[in-house]
Symmetry: C2
Subunit: 470 residues, 2 copies
């Protein structure tokens, strides 16, 4: 189903690989456009397009009357942070106050480097408006009545798209929700109760931690690798030692680490869950935002017993404010259906129909392709700026998809302090401390590459880097 | 703010009162239209309009070349059921299966006498479609982004309208939600935990019972009068005897009893809550649907300490599928805000803006006036049909607002059986057993008057009455 990449992108990716593997070094002159065109059998304008692409990724630069040169190299990528070694203790300080200060301040920032969603400029606003108007015409009740069985068009499209991650969902396997967080909330409410223990990655999106905490669950934060996700050994040992009620993982391009679990890890996790009879809530809300050539699989791909409850949404790819999410709850479907009915009855009829019909033709794939390119370019520009402007000992992740970068500053750095000085400059960041219930990650921060890349963002990163020097 | 009633309605209501108080009896001839016009100083067509109105309420009939006659009298109103005396025990049968059979079957009914919302024909479909399109233009992000602080237009209008029930809400007192059930869910999640005891009316909307049950709360179902609501004495005694964590009341035109608490009872409840420091979740989702001349107050009207969490929505008056609700959580605002953020983040931006702007001018009041008239007429027609077609010993409520009628058949009647035979005739009703966690109300049922009144509905009630004879 995935269309093959445009030829100019193939050429650009090929050159990027050579830069990353140090075959092409900083300062090296690239072949002329005429040579590229001849060698690859493409037009001059296609060759030009690939060089434009590499320029927008911050990898090459043009020098007037001379040609194109490599301006950035793999060597310049910072070290990646090591596997987290989260503290397991009972923290007493109230991190919730920090989270709500952070949340309430967001609108005061002029450059929002902590947003969890793509910028409006990257979303298909006009097309979605049209889809919304069409939805009022297509639904016989104009979307005024309850969406009693969940929007059929939407469920069908989600099932169809499951082929892309190697899944095999049927329309009837899916329960629609108001976004992915609601889906996860339903899963937790259905499968765990006060006093139960639940496993998460560490660091992990603070909303998940506090959702669990608000339900009286004990969260075990496990060591997590910035590239490959949760450590399988640590997971195995924990499941053997403790009575665990639930596990929740963001398997692809997690927030904040950006890790993407390899297939063998996903398989291993599913096996462990089955062995210990622990349901896995898998949140795949970033899975469509891969920078490479293939969409990653899900744990659900390898789930034969129905122990995985796969949650996702269209909040990171289309319209956060439409509140369109879903869960494929495997063998727990009846339980989740009941919880949904008791807690919120139904989701918003009209926006679910609009997204459902938007998915029906090529529009979504075309949009995703452009969105992925923008986010990929943006993340490379972020990495370049961090390399240029931040302290030398800064470590940063190099995610292969999603929206987030995780930075580790020197041991003694205080990113809550950095947050305050950045906000004084009207720049928002997410301090690392928020991503744990324990007192840790105080020298870390999360940046989001969801903004449209421009000079204003570069300037903000320059200021941030200066502030981080102090 | 409430506009005075049209003169023809004043005349009609006046005559209805005379019929209800037995001043005018069945068979009495009404004054001629000319006499009415002269006496009241109105035009002939206005006099005609009031007689049409009384006809549509099923109270009078015209006989060709003779005039208008009273066709229905207060004597014909059935007995009202007595104050409920709910069983307090632990029931073992699984009532959830009945509820989900009921829920899944609803779409199979051709005449839906159990719907909880007004029929589509009674809603302003075209105007809401327009409001939705305007909302995509008015919001600078077309509603694609998160509605981070709750829609301002909506909150302002809700605050403004609080004057109508004697409240004094400010915009900032309000948290928007996806419907009233989500608001109540947030309140329960924030204020109670597994093992806690919560007080409700009995019978009560089954969704509330099972929401509480799914959270591990113990529900105490208290005696409730079909006219005045929960028994204050029973509430007082329970609060003195037991440790109660929460109380939830539908103070106006409750589902299923239709009771409306008098002001003195509302005051007494608030005092009791304050005395025992028990938060009151008040669900006022039917408050705007009064049949009389004045909107009833809320418990919140008499709440000075912030102990009442007032929940409501526009699902019963405008657009159930838009998922627009709210809570004014009093002193618990921070707790509710956090629960909302953790469980669902935000509500749907575009539908909240559409409803907000719909409330901004007279449209909503004009719509409500028409809707209330339709529901009032419909409820009187239902009562007439029940009187005509149902067994003589049937008792039925005579609510002064809302959508619901509660019927009590003879002691040995089995309304689950009646539900099954009715569904075989493609008529849906709500068996009384659903409205309790205990094994009771097996001879009761709930009917909804939310349908547009017509012959099909009358025929369905005729069939239902026949089935109830068996």
């Amino acid at each position: 189903m995935a269309k093959s990449l445009h030829i100019y992108l193939q050429i650009a990716n090929n050159i990027e690989q050579k830069i990353n593997s140090n075959v092409l070094k900083v300062g090296d002159k690239l072949p002329s456009l005429r040579t590229v065109a001849l060698e690859k059998g493409v037009s001059l304008s296609t060759a030009q397009q690939s060089y434009f692409e590499l320029e927008s990724r911050g990898l090459i630069e043009s020098r007037p009357q001379s040609g194109y040169y490599v301006s950035y190299s793999h060597k310049h990528f910072r070290n990646i942070p090591q596997t987290s070694q989260p503290v397991i203790a009972n923290s007493t300080d109230n991190i919730e106050d920090l989270i709500f200060t952070f949340r309430n301040n967001i609108s005061k920032a002029k450059v929002e480097l902590s947003t969890g969603v793509p910028a409006l400029e990257l979303l298909p606003v006009a097309k979605l408006n049209k889809a919304l108007v069409n939805a009022t015409r297509k639904l016989s009740d104009s979307g005024l009545n309850y969406d009693k069985s969940g929007n059929g068009t939407l469920k069908k499209q989600i099932a169809f798209r499951s082929l892309m991650w190697g899944g095999n969902l049927k329309e009837d396997d899916i329960i629609t929700t108001s976004g992915s967080m609601e889906a996860i909330s339903f899963c937790m409410l259905a499968l765990a109760e006060k006093g139960d223990t639940i496993i998460m990655e560490s660091p992990v999106y603070f909303g998940l931690l506090h959702l669990a905490k608000s339900l009286g669950l004990n969260v075990l934060e496990l060591p997590t690798n910035p590239v490959t996700g949760i450590e399988i050994e640590a997971l195995k040992k924990t499941l053997e030692k403790k009575k665990v009620k639930l596990c929740i993982l963001v398997s692809n391009f997690s927030n904040p680490l950006g890790s993407c679990m390899p297939d063998e890890n996903k398989k291993a996790v599913v096996k462990l869950m089955e062995k210990h009879n622990v349901p896995l809530i898998e949140d795949d809300l970033f899975g469509d935002l891969y920078f490479g050539t293939h969409r990653p699989s899900c744990c659900k791909t390898f789930d034969e017993s129905g122990i995985v409850l796969l949650c996702s949404s269209f909040s990171k790819t289309l319209a956060p404010g439409y509140r369109v999410g879903w869960v494929a709850p495997g063998k727990f479907k009846d339980k989740i259906a009941r919880i949904k009915y008791y807690h919120t009855l139904y989701a918003t009829s009209i926006t679910h129909e609009a997204i459902g019909s938007f998915l029906e033709n090529d529009r979504y794939e075309n949009h995703l392709r452009k969105l992925r390119q923008s986010l990929h370019r943006s993340s490379l520009q972020f990495l370049r700026c961090i390399s240029q402007y931040f302290p030398d000992d800064t470590k940063v992740t190099n995610p292969q998809g999603g929206l987030h970068l995780w930075l580790e500053l020197r041991k003694k750095a205080d990113t809550i302090e950095l947050y305050n000085t950045a906000m004084a400059n009207k720049i928002s960041i997410a301090p690392g401390r928020m991503f744990s219930l324990q007192n840790q990650y105080n020298n870390c921060l999360k940046l989001s590459c969801g903004l449209l890349w421009n000079e204003k963002v570069e300037d903000a990163l320059k200021i941030l880097g200066k502030l981080a020097m102090k």
